[in-house]
Symmetry: C2
Subunit: 234 residues, 2 copies
């Protein structure tokens, strides 16, 4: 739909391509273990192979993609243990950030959060997974940025990216999206009334569902020797 890169400043195009691929992974267009062939992507995204190459290197650094020398890149499949480990660190960091947000929060931040939250809610109600994903990203960035430590925010975002591959399960699920929508609203409210305890609790709760859903999905679908009775279904 949106032609993001028109005449970007070189390195911007790389970022743009990386972001597009990231979105496709999150939205389930690209599934775990799927091969990412440079030339193919280059043609599809209307950029040169060189750019795709750099973008894939970026995604590898982030942890969304795995690159084997001379064999190419595949979207990385996180095993449940890794997911648990990542989420446990996320919990600590997001809790920490929430605790450090100065209360009462600045009105401008609060207003921005309200706006983004409304956009997210609208996207969820319209079942627009892509818009919901984007609004969700912006919401959390805006929220955690209020803690005042950009490096902490960067870490939180990095960890979120790492499990983006895991989000393809929840990113399209109406149930999860509405839950997230309501939790966002609750967060804004807690922030508005200056209830830190509630805010922190909400942030912690917020992580659980997507983690559990992914672990359940992986254990049901992607493990090889598990679930001996059920053969491949779909």
């Amino acid at each position: 739909m949106t032609v993001t890169a028109l005449k970007a400043q070189t390195t911007e195009r790389v970022r743009s391509v990386a972001a597009m691929l990231e979105e496709e992974i999150v939205l389930g267009w690209l599934l775990p273990r799927e091969r990412l062939v440079e030339e193919e992507l280059a043609e599809r995204l209307s950029v040169k192979r060189h750019v795709v190459r750099e973008a894939l290197a970026d995604l590898e650094r982030v942890g969304l993609v795995e690159r084997i020398p001379n064999r190419g890149a595949v979207v990385k499949l996180l095993d449940p243990l890794e997911v648990r480990q990542i989420y446990s660190v996320r919990e600590v960091l997001e809790t920490l950030a929430a605790e450090q947000i100065p209360l009462p929060v600045s009105p401008v931040v609060l207003e921005r959060l309200r706006v983004v939250q409304k956009q997210h809610a609208a996207a969820v109600d319209a079942a627009d997974a892509r818009a919901a994903f984007r609004a969700n990203m912006i919401f959390h960035e805006t929220l955690f940025r209020a803690c005042g430590n950009p490096h902490l925010v960067e870490l939180i975002q990095g960890l979120a990216q790492k499990v983006h591959g895991a989000r393809s399960i929840t990113a399209a699920s109406a149930e999860h999206l509405t839950l997230a929508r309501d939790e966002h609203a609750a967060m804004v409210e807690a922030l508005a009334v200056g209830d830190r305890e509630r805010l922190v609790a909400l942030c912690r709760q917020h992580l659980g569902p997507s983690r559990d859903a992914y672990i359940a999905a992986v254990e049901a679908r992607f493990t090889r020797q598990a679930t001996p009775g059920s053969a491949i279904k779909a």
Copy 2:
């Protein structure tokens, strides 16, 4: 001195070059604000420009280097605020890791730590800054790995890398090196006797000196409008 990359597996060479540059930054060979010209580095390190390019992209993502489109890369100068912010997160994460190390620690880890600690001590006593730097990196990686969460370790290492540029002040200082040496020994001891509280306290203390030294050095040397009486000296 050491010809690290002889016939590495492509992507390994990029890592190798990035590591070399990182070392040169830490050891003060490359100073903040110094330009990193691709072709020059390529010739000096006997690799193609392409490899240097990717290595610089790596270092940019890590935060050691700043890259401006069409203008090239410079080693990043962290302002004191950033250093404080990074160290505050480091403190949380390293404390967390130390708290999660299962005690008593496995004998094999303890033995490995002892070996590395001895190497570090030897390097410090021999005033070999490079060897000390390497041993120091390995020591902390070995220590924190024992916490069992690789992603937490990765974050800790990433933050450590970010302030590597800041370490050029302390990495060559005999005073700081001997202090670090003794603290490492104390950590191993605390680990050996299973004294968690002491271990955590040591980890926390361990961070302070280099942070303070860097902030002091930056405020004395690199700020522009400060120190109005003293003109450029060297």
